[in-house]
């Protein structure tokens, strides 16, 4: 129906945006896996470039969503909330790109004793982003409030898990025999990776408010 046409465009673009964010995180995860196995080589650099392309695509889609929304699709209060949700979710792709850039440009080598925990942290981050996207789609769709609450609670739990891993890794870094500069660099990387779930948590908190506001 003509009533819903413009909103269907927004829905399709939001879908595209979430997919781009998930793909960006998948590429990031692949890049880190490769880095841990092979160090910084051409393949890693290609993966960094692919992540950058995906992040740019997410940015483009975000701009398109803003444009369609400003052309008066949906009610103004929904427009504002969707834009904020998109803005918060977009931080995830930005963060992935920024970590890879840092690793590539600063030639950071992740020591053996961090490999397991880094892999685990990224695995949790992927699950966290999946839960966030499911919650976002649920809030925009017609998911039962209880289900949204469960997803938000899961995101919170993932974030806590990552925090624990982060502290464990930072402790291990500073216990090691590495140079202080190297320790600080690694700590920065660990915090940056942990930032992915922090962004998810912020977005989930907002989603919860958005969902409550939509309840009649």
């Amino acid at each position: 129906m003509f009533l819903f046409n413009r909103n269907q465009v927004v829905l399709a673009k939001l879908d595209d945006f979430f997919t781009s964010n998930i793909q960006c995180l998948d590429l990031f995860s692949e890049a880190i896996d490769h880095l841990l196995k092979n160090g910084i080589d051409d393949v890693f650099c290609e993966k960094v470039a692919s992540t950058h392309k995906k992040e740019s695509k997410a940015d483009d889609v975000r701009r398109e969503i803003e444009e369609v929304l400003y052309r008066k699709a949906l009610l103004p209060e929904s427009r504002r909330d969707i834009l904020q949700m998109v803005e918060l979710t977009d931080h995830i792709a930005n963060r992935c790109e920024s970590i890879l850039n840092q690793l590539e440009t600063q030639r950071v080598m992740l020591p053996e004793f961090l490999h397991g925990d880094i892999k685990e942290e990224i695995r949790i981050s992927v699950k966290c982003v999946d839960a966030l996207v499911a919650a976002a789609k649920g809030v925009l769709g017609s998911m039962a409030p209880k289900k949204v609450q469960e997803l938000v609670a899961a995101i919170d739990a993932y974030e806590s898990e990552c925090d624990t891993l982060e502290r464990k890794m930072i402790r291990a870094i500073f216990k090691s025999e590495l140079e202080l500069a190297e320790k600080l660099l690694l700590k920065e990387i660990v915090l940056q990776v942990g930032g992915i779930t922090d962004h998810c948590e912020n977005a989930a908190d907002f989603l919860m408010i958005f969902h409550i506001k939509r309840q009649v």
């Binding site: 819903f4 909103n7 269907q8 008066k72 009610l75 969707i82 809030v139 939509r214």
Partner: protein, 308 residues
Amino acid sequence: MLPYLGAVFLGWSLGANDSANTFGTAVGTRIVSYRNATLLIALFVTIGAYMQGSGGIETLGKLTPQTDHTAVICLFAAAITVAAMTLLKLPVSTSQAAIGSIVGVGLMQKSLDLSRLTKVIVCWIGTPLGAIVICFIIYHVLRIVIRIWQPSIFVYDPVMRWALIVCGCYSAYALGANNVANVSAVLISAEILTPIDGRLFGGLAIALGALTFSRGVMTTVGKGIIKLDVFSSLCCVLSLAITVHIYAVAGVPVSTSQGIIGAVLGIGFVKGLQTVNGRMLVRVLCGWLATPFIAAAIAALLMFLFLN
């Protein structure tokens, strides 16, 4: 010429003040532009006045006998009251001003139909109370419907947008049907206009006010009610339309401002009365109580000057 001038002024101020109650929320939430809203109001007010305005006209026309002179006095007394109260920034009901002035003239003529006046006063009290009850019921019923339906945001938003526009049109229709009597009842009673011409003339006078001077009040009402959220606003506008339409059928002109404040109170009863501004409510109440007395006093004074 004077009766027409008085009627146009009264209708114009009614349209300028009261059209905000029908589309203020939709304009405030930017669901519809001010220009389109006023065009819709003008159209539906005129249709409402023409189609269902006769009930109120009959009631007001029979409150007291009218001549050319008393019609002019009634219209100017009401118009002066509305203008003065608006200038003093006090809430005013055009219906109360119009009926107050007819009562003032009737008292001076010693020919007031008390049974009709009693019916009118009962309906005035019933307007906000009716709106409270209707809004309370509508809110709960629609809430159940939406909870069962569970639409996505991409369906809910356009449905709400169009529902608010449709209810705004219905509300404008009810405004025209109910309030046209304030403008043209005395003209028809004094046989200056035929009933059909009177209804059309009154409707167009109200439409003129909506088209030319409603932006200020509409912005204020829109911003005041927007805080309620779109769903609550829809319930308010629909309750207002139903309440005012019921009184149009019953043949008693009532205040749409009283109706909308009653509806907002209805939402307050659902969501908690802390949302209601008590001081503002007292101020509104004082304005409503004062309006018919001031209009009656001005009309009586003008009548006294005319008779002497």
